[in-house]
Amino acid sequence: MGRWGAFMSETGLQKLAFFVLVLLILFVSIAGGV
């Protein structure tokens, strides 16, 4: 976790990944995907 922690902690990348994940879950659960 050492290097990763410094690299990833609360960076924009992390936030972006989180919101894309939430959108993906919403997309799959509302539209069933595809």
Binding site: Q14, L21, V22, L24, I25, G32, V34
Partner: protein, 278 residues
């Protein structure tokens, strides 16, 4: 206003955004009950798996915060965040399968979900830190000490009910919370036990005895003086437990002898004897 209850508090990252993970899969309920029986089954499974993943994510973040807060810590028994990443992928795959019935789409969702979740939340700490020289034998000693402390706490709860005063009961509960903080700290690092032993045996026993005496007196006489004395005693004790817990977590050998002697005097004034065991 209780002074100091927020001292040193750090905002947890387990709230707020993570709650979105609980909300996002909820539309699956609607999908579950608008399709056929197999859709019902798969969508409910997907919902359950995604909610479990969200819960594990939150637990994992809390575990990591506890890990980061300590100088000495054992790695989590269950790598919760990594498991949550896998479950998020699995949940999405099941939901995708329920909708499409295909194979390719679920696989894509599974990979995307797992990768995104890992990026968003990172991995669990996988190594113990500062655990050299701690053996399994120590953890057994800790388990015994914690059991004993819990039995004192249970005795306090029982006794204070006799007093029949809800406010005092709530105060006792708050005191017990700070004691449990110490128990968790000791459990996580058995080396703390030596330093905390007196707190978990003598002082807790004193607290329990004082509680049962107070409950008897107060149930009979409703004496406001006894009540305020008892509340003061709890405050003193709580302060000491909180301070000791913090010093355990810092792993420093801060000496609390001054506070301890004040506390000892206090307990003796309440008629609790401490000299027969240490």
């Amino acid at each position: 206003m209780d002074q100091g209850s927020y001292r040193g508090a750090v905002r947890t990252r387990a709230g707020g955004r993570v709650n979105l993970l609980f909300i996002a899969p909820l539309p699956l309920i609607w999908r579950a009950f608008t399709g056929g029986p197999s859709e019902l089954l798969f969508n409910l499974i997907a919902l359950g798996v995604l909610l479990l993943a969200a819960w594990l994510t939150r637990e994992g973040i809390q575990a990591q915060e506890a890990y980061d807060a300590r100088k000495v810590a054992r790695r989590p028994g269950l790598p919760r965040k990594m498991l949550a990443s896998l479950l998020t992928g699995a949940g999405l795959a099941v939901a995708g399968f329920a909708a499409s019935g295909g194979v390719i789409e679920p696989v894509i969702y599974a990979i995307l979900g797992t990768v995104l979740h890992s990026f968003a939340f990172g991995f669990d700490p996988l190594k113990d830190k500062g655990m050299e020289g701690v053996d399994q034998f120590q953890t057994d000693r800790v388990a015994r000490a914690v059991d004993k402390a819990e039995s004192y706490l249970a005795g306090m709860s029982d006794a204070i009910k006799r007093a029949g005063d809800r406010q005092v009961e709530a105060r006792v509960e708050r005191f017990q919370t700070s004691v449990r903080d110490m128990l968790r700290t000791v459990e996580e690092d058995p080396r703390d036990l030596t330093a905390a032993k007196k707190f978990l045996s003598v002082y807790l026993m004193g607290a329990r005895d004082a509680t049962s005496k107070f409950a008897d007196v107060y149930a009979r006489s409703r004496d406001a003086g006894a009540r305020s004395d008892y509340m003061m005693l709890l405050s003193d004790l709580e302060e000491n437990f909180v301070a000791k817990t913090r010093s355990l977590m810092d792993n420093s050998n801060t000496d609390l002898e001054v506070e301890i002697s004040v506390l000892r005097d206090r307990l003796q004034r309440e008629g609790v004897r401490l000299d027969n065991n240490a």
